[in-house]
């Protein structure tokens, strides 16, 4: 008689079972990287045909990448790392399946970074009809950035994009969003924010605007940007302050694309665009502002400016006496602090006694801009600032909050803005340069 462990046949049986399952399964979800076409950015536009849309995909071409690293020096030497394809279809899933007829690999959206909507689509029909697929399909993540082209179609953005430094479009997108965060000229929005704020009561959302600068668009020839002669550039600049209005920035060379300003979205449709300056005030109100350099007019010398690096020291305090009859009053207080970065007029402002001069300008300008922006939004009966959040925290029941009818009441509200601003540090020099002759 052989003495054997009784667990042996069981162990063999179980492991056989496991092995059989493993072998039978094949490998349904296993996809080799070289059998996938990664879509890095996606554009959606209104088509020339009714009820159809142009979907533009930027597909990464890994074969053209040098695996040993290092970037080519000029555009000719380096083959494109990505290609742009446009399909016209009724919906995004249809476009994806139609695109498969011409692309050798299966499309993969797990590395998708940004969805860009065209201006026309955003104005007319709105974005919401295209959001559902993005939310539902597990390939799309809720952390995709959303942009709107300020003037024109998303497709143009794809065609004209020429990043200054980055070879990868994904790095370009990440870098740009980082710049947005640091300058405050827009607010980076991801799909999750868009959906959550659209679904929330009493708030409208915003989307950053990307625009094509016509001066540089003119400079782009044969896939290269050649800065125009100075004479011509001097002719083409306009008399504007960059960021104050909706117009483009006076600029030559570099990437034709620039991200500045926000689109206000109500029920999925773009109802208004706000400029870079307004966007900063918006960010202050929405409390998405962290940091930025602001330039103000000098209080004493005309046509000269001083610059302040402005931080938000505390979240804004907003008091709304919503329980009384209309019009409600909204008292907003910003808490800001800043460092002096430039005194163009060379006046001696740096001392505790003269600080109030500069601080006064800052508080006045920001308060004015805030009231201006709020009244602009009041005319449109929209509240992208989500001021209702300050009411929300004083309520007990959700039903009460839903019944608030905030947007109408906001439109009639009286707004007071106070800015609590302190200058903190002067930088590396105390007083500006002294010219002995003028002493």
């Amino acid at each position: 008689m052989k003495i054997k462990s009784s667990s042996l046949p069981k162990a063999i049986f179980l492991s056989l079972l496991l092995l059989l399952t493993l072998l039978n399964t094949g490998c349904w979800d296993r996809r080799e990287l070289e059998s996938l076409a990664f879509v890095l950015t996606l554009g959606i536009d209104q088509s020339a045909i009714d009820n159809q849309y142009d979907f533009t995909f930027r597909i990464a071409v890994p074969g053209n990448l040098d695996p040993r690293g290092g970037k080519g020096t000029s555009a000719e030497e380096m083959p494109d790392t990505s290609k742009v394809v446009t399909v016209t279809a009724r919906s995004l899933p249809e476009a994806i399946s139609l695109l498969r007829t011409s692309i050798e690999r299966s499309l993969d959206f797990r590395h998708l970074r940004v969805v860009i909507f065209g201006e026309e689509l955003a104005y007319k029909e709105g974005l919401l009809f295209h959001i559902d697929h993005l939310e539902r399909d597990p390939h799309f993540r809720r952390t995709i950035y959303v942009w709107i082209n300020k003037f024109g179609t998303a497709r143009d953005v794809f065609l004209i994009n020429m990043p200054v430094l980055e070879a990868f479009v994904t790095r370009y997108i990440e870098g740009t969003n980082e710049s947005i965060r640091e300058t405050g000229y827009a607010r980076p929005i991801i799909l999750h924010d868009l959906v959550a704020e659209t679904e929330e009561h009493h708030v409208d959302t915003v989307i950053p605007l990307i625009c094509i600068n016509p001066i540089i668009e003119e400079e782009k020839k044969d896939g290269k940007i050649v800065p125009m002669p100075t004479e011509k550039y001097r002719e083409s600049v306009k008399d504007i302050i960059g960021g104050e209005q909706m117009e483009h920035i006076n600029r030559s060379g570099g990437n034709p694309l620039e991200i500045i300003g926000l689109a206000v979205i109500q029920e999925g449709k773009m109802i208004e665009q706000i400029s870079g300056w307004e966007s900063r005030v918006y960010s202050l109100l929405r409390d998405s502002y962290r940091y930025g350099t602001w330039t103000f007019e000098d209080p004493e010398v005309e046509n000269k400016t001083f610059a302040v690096e402005l931080y938000r020291s505390r979240p804004p305090r907003v008091e709304i006496d919503w329980q009384k009859e209309d019009p409600v009053t909204i008292d907003i207080t910003f808490f800001l602090e800043g460092n002096v970065r430039d005194i163009q007029s060379l006046e001696k402002y740096i001392s505790p006694e003269t600080y109030p001069l500069l601080e006064g300008v800052v508080t006045k300008v920001i308060a004015e801009q805030t009231i201006e922006l709020i009244s602009k939004m009041q005319e449109l009966e929209t509240d992208p600032f989500y001021l209702a959040r300050f009411i929300r925290t004083q309520m007990l029941y959700k039903q009460e909050y839903i019944a608030l009818d905030w947007k109408k009441r906001f439109a009639q509200a009286e707004v007071n803005v106070t800015v609590d601003f302190n200058l903190r540090r002067p930088g590396l020099v105390i007083q500006p340069m002294v010219i002995p002759e003028q002493e």
Binding site: L14, L22, T143, E200, R389, Q399
Partner: protein
Amino acid sequence: MKIRKKDGVIGSFEAFCLCNYLIYTKMFLAMPRHLIEEAGPIAWAVPILVLIFSLLFFYILTNLLQRFEDLSFLEIIGELWGSSMQWIIGVLFAFLFLVITAYQLRIIGEFLLSTLLPQTPLSAVLFIMVATFVYLAYFGIENLARLAGLLFPWLLVAFVVTFLLAVGRGEFYNFSPWLGYGEWRLFVSTVNHIGIYKEILLLAFIAPLFRKHQTLRRTGFTSLIFVAFFFFFAMAIYIYVFPVHTGSELGFPLFQLTRLVYYGAFLQRIDPLFMFVWASISIVGMATGLYVSALSLAQGAKASDYRPFLFPLAVILLAIAFYHESSMEAVKNYRLFPAYIAIPFFGIPILAWLWALLFHRQRRQRQ
């Protein structure tokens, strides 16, 4: 099956971990969504309210077990109401645990399919999971509990860290209005989810394995409080990040939470890592469910071993898991029936306790 101390002694830490796994599995399913849908921004309070009831129930349960030391729950039933009742209730609990596990299995499988393995057939995923359950349960509660104990600290850390990373997207005002849809709806939601911690009954089935009754009591209370805290923690972060309307429409809620983690270029898209957490907890939890089901059957029938029941039960488990045509149907039923299932889970022990209190005065001596 008569469990005696010589069959193995279960440590309090290991039993604590096992209870956590068994109870927490349901949180990875659709539960956060249902809670936020029913109670609104105050949904975090539901696990705490249920905890108060569950602590009371567990106190009664331990009181019952203390009266009959060295006996498991079903043996106490046999002592009180005769062996035919022991068999009936054993079969009933075996069935209930099996059904719960089967539904969890189906929904977990559906989630897996809809997120990470979209092309894989459901049957393959379910088969491999059930094979794992049988393997894990086959070697008994002692090894299962030790496995739970071994992985617990790591899973805990991973769980907490992934959730805290998701906090960056949250807004404090999402908790307001403070009472949500009102006290009544909170109460209704609490009643609907009264059975969140019902699986704590596991301890009653393996009661003789504890060295002392005091250990069982302490293990039960600590695991209830601990697991309630984590229900609260996950729910609070879920509400914090997702506004009510968005939160009540997400499939696979906690997974979506981790998909939002986005800190610059390096710390993002960590959701497959989170799968380590939920898949481990669910698989160990469901394997425990299968084990308890087999154990209940064995104890009810006074069989000498639970192991022969495992394989047939696993087949039935798969059959129940495949019963529903669509995933939404399964989710809907899983949402409805725990409230009813809670009745026998709480009712029978309380009834037994009352019976023992009124008609079974003489305390059993420790042998």
